[in-house]
């Protein structure tokens, strides 16, 4: 078993605090993704787990052993770097076996493991090549192979796909997920791309400014973000945030009016313990995909500036009457044109509600809430 547990882990460079107390648990076999904007400390956190950065305070456990001060090479972790970091003067086979040779592993074992890893990654025909004679995707495979042969307890990936072109990235994403199913080891993966996070993770850790904003499954983060930052970071295109005001509240629900769509009072259920008073300023969050069509009727009037039509989906970027930016998912076969004004109906059951400080007030959004309301 190789759970990775971080207990109040901190990192400072001089007087600058980069990681400000992170508590985290990655269970054995889990695929955990660290995601966050650049500079949030996600790479630093990964480097602290593998031992390239010292842990200023706190504790790191890998498989029940305290690894906080153990040498990087003895932690049982293997890292795949963004730049692949292959040894340019060695062949693929030498690259992959270097770590084992450093550890004085018997030749037969080395050969067997390299062969096995090469088969998993389908790079057997490349074993005698040098890194400079290979494409980016092939180098990436070698870098992963180098990690596999060490049979680590924990795999660490530092933005491994960001140097690949879009098509290859999608392909490698799927292959990494397959690899994870095949090997079953704990994997920790850093990315700034929320699509990678959503598609690959068992558990997403959203970081900002060296602090954990929320930990949860991709769907948890999508339907029940803990705050406005997570809500805005997860989901693409990002969630719309509309200024609104509380009209009235019952014990469990609140009625909210959005100034741009006054004819429609939103009914939103509240989280336990949420503090809301009538007249209070709040923020309503609606994802682009949760507006109902672009037909006329009650709702938010939006003047369209730009339409991005992807064929299957179209997104319309526009402004409401009050000048708030709004993104709406639109019909791709009959998309609105720029300059048009459309009316977007807001679906209550998909609305999120935040107070002005960004804390979530509403319960988890989505169809479930709709069913609960009906019941």
């Amino acid at each position: 078993m190789a759970d990775v547990i971080l207990k109040n882990v901190r990192k400072s460079f001089g007087s600058v605090d980069v990681i400000k107390g992170v508590d985290l648990e990655a269970k054995h076999g889990e695929f955990v993704v660290f995601v966050g904007p650049s500079g949030c400390g996600k790479s630093t956190l990964l480097r602290m787990i593998c031992g390239l950065e010292k842990i200023t305070s706190g504790q790191l456990l890998i498989g029940d052993e305290d690894m906080s001060d153990v040498e990087a090479s003895d932690r049982g972790t293997a890292m795949v770097f963004q730049s692949y970091a292959l040894y340019p003067h060695m062949t693929v086979a030498e690259n992959m076996s270097f770590g084992l040779r450093m550890a004085k592993t018997p030749q037969a074992v080395v050969e067997r493991r390299v062969q096995r890893a090469a088969e998993i990654l389908q790079i057997t025909h490349l074993l005698q090549r040098k890194p400079k004679d290979m494409s980016g995707g092939q180098r990436q495979r070698v870098a992963i192979g180098r990690a596999i042969v060490r049979e680590p307890k924990v795999f660490l990936f530092d933005e491994p796909l960001s140097n690949l072109d879009a098509e290859l990235r999608v392909q490698m994403r799927v292959e990494l997920s397959k690899l994870h199913n095949e090997i079953g080891a704990t994997m920790i993966y850093v990315t700034h791309d929320q699509v990678e996070a959503m598609t690959m993770a068992d558990k997403i850790v959203v970081l900002r400014d060296g602090k954990v904003e929320q930990i949860g499954s991709p769907l948890d983060l999508y339907t029940a973000p803990d705050n406005q930052f997570v809500a805005g970071f997860i989901g693409s295109p990002r969630m719309n945030f509309l200024k609104a005001r509380v009209v009235s509240r019952t014990k469990t629900d609140v009625q909210v009016s959005v100034p741009d769509a006054q004819d429609h009072l939103l009914q939103i259920p509240l989280r336990a313990g949420a503090i809301v008073d009538p007249g209070q300023d709040v923020i309503v969050g609606v994802r682009p995909e949760h507006f109902l069509g672009t037909s006329a009727g009650h709702g938010l009037e939006v003047r369209i500036d730009v339409v991005e039509n992807l064929g299957g989906i179209a997104y319309a970027y526009g402004k409401s009457k009050a000048g708030q930016d709004v993104i709406i998912k639109a019909d791709s076969e009959q998309p609105p044109r720029s300059g048009m004004t459309v009316t977007a109906q807001i679906r209550d059951e998909y609305c999120h509600l935040f107070d002005v400080k960004g804390q979530t007030l509403s319960t988890s959004a989505g169809a479930i809430r709709g069913h609960e309301a009906a019941a």
Binding site: C50, G51, L52, A72, S73, D74, T77, A78, M79, F81, Q82, S83, A85, L86, Y87, P88, H89, F98, G99, M102, A103, R146, R150
Partner: protein, 308 residues
């Protein structure tokens, strides 16, 4: 689209002048021509001339007398020539310390701490100052009466000879002076080389369990091959053409014990007006250097082929 432009028309197109049609073949020659002309005039032609001069007896002015291989025969029996040749070999062997020391200084200086730029420039300083100045500084440094070396060693009870006046020490004294700027040069070459090493590769090696000496030998050094190659070439050439330090510090003395081929050549040509004899020395020196130049060119050609 007209008929003449369709794909099925496979007649060669005859448009433009001869120059326009062969632009790709001609332009490289045009660009190379000026450099080639200058190189021929100022490098190749003097080499030929000087080899030619080695077969004559000439005082710089006046008539040239053809003597065939006499100059070379004289060289074989010339004790000073052999001393100079052996000294050149000492230079060559000891100068190879420069890349090694340069590498270690570069590794030491290749870190990010406050003020490292200043330290780097201080280490590079001896390469910037003139060799003549280096020679003067070391001559004072070695001075037995007031030199820094004697002053330092006297309280320790170590007496040293007057290094530059001692026939057993003079050459080594000059080589030590020469190593100072040469090490700085190699250091700069290695520092630039280290700059191009991807830090993630070093981190990957650390994760793979390579540390200290093994990390240096297996990961860092192989990536510095280009720098090592250049450092070796400039050091070997530098050792063989050593001249200014000898001229400033000892003028080849005492009793020609610190002479080197380049200085002996100069001495014969300028002080003794023996142009033919000096040219013969120059030719020998040129042949020795050719070994390294050939090695250099072969590697260069091989790398160019490999790059394709």
């Amino acid at each position: 689209m007209t008929d003449s432009q369709t794909m099925s028309d496979d007649r060669p197109r005859k448009t433009g002048t001869f120059f326009r049609r062969n632009k790709l073949a001609i332009m490289p020659l045009v660009f190379i021509a000026p450099a080639f002309a200058m190189f021929s005039l100022f490098v190749i032609w003097p080499i030929i001339q000087s080899v030619g001069l080695s077969f004559v007896e000439w005082q710089g002015i006046g008539p040239k007398t053809w003597v065939g291989l006499d100059n070379y025969r004289e060289l074989l029996g010339d004790q000073v020539f052999w001393t100079s040749l052996v000294n050149n070999l000492y230079w060559l062997a000891l100068f190879l310390l420069a890349p090694v020391m340069g590498l270690f200084i570069a590794l030491f200086l290749n870190q990010n701490v406050f003020g490292i730029r200043l330290v780097k420039s201080l280490f590079f300083f001896p390469f910037v100052v003139s060799q003549i100045v280096v020679g003067m500084i070391f001559a004072w440094f070695y001075d037995p009466a007031f030199g820094l070396l004697a002053t330092l060693l006297k309280p320790l009870g170590i007496g040293i000879p007057a290094i530059l006046a001692d026939e057993n020490w003079a050459t080594f004294g000059i080589i030590a002076a020469g190593l100072w700027p040469q090490t700085a040069y190699c250091m700069i070459l290695y520092l630039t080389g280290l700059n191009s090493v991807n830090p993630e590769v070093i981190e990957a090696a650390r994760l793979d369990g390579a540390k200290g000496w093994r990390l240096l030998v297996k990961i860092v050094l192989p990536q510095l091959r280009a720098a090592t190659f250049i450092a070796l070439v400039v050091t070997v050439i530098g050792a063989l053409r050593s001249f200014d330090l000898v001229a400033v510090m000892t003028s080849g003395g005492p009793y020609n014990s610190s002479n080197v081929l380049a200085y002996y050549m100069y001495d014969n040509a300028i002080s003794r007006y023996r142009m033919g004899y000096a040219s013969a020395i120059a030719t020998i020196l040129f042949l020795i250097m050719d070994v390294y130049i050939a090695w250099f060119l072969m590697r260069l050609l091989r790398n160019e082929k490999g790059a394709r």
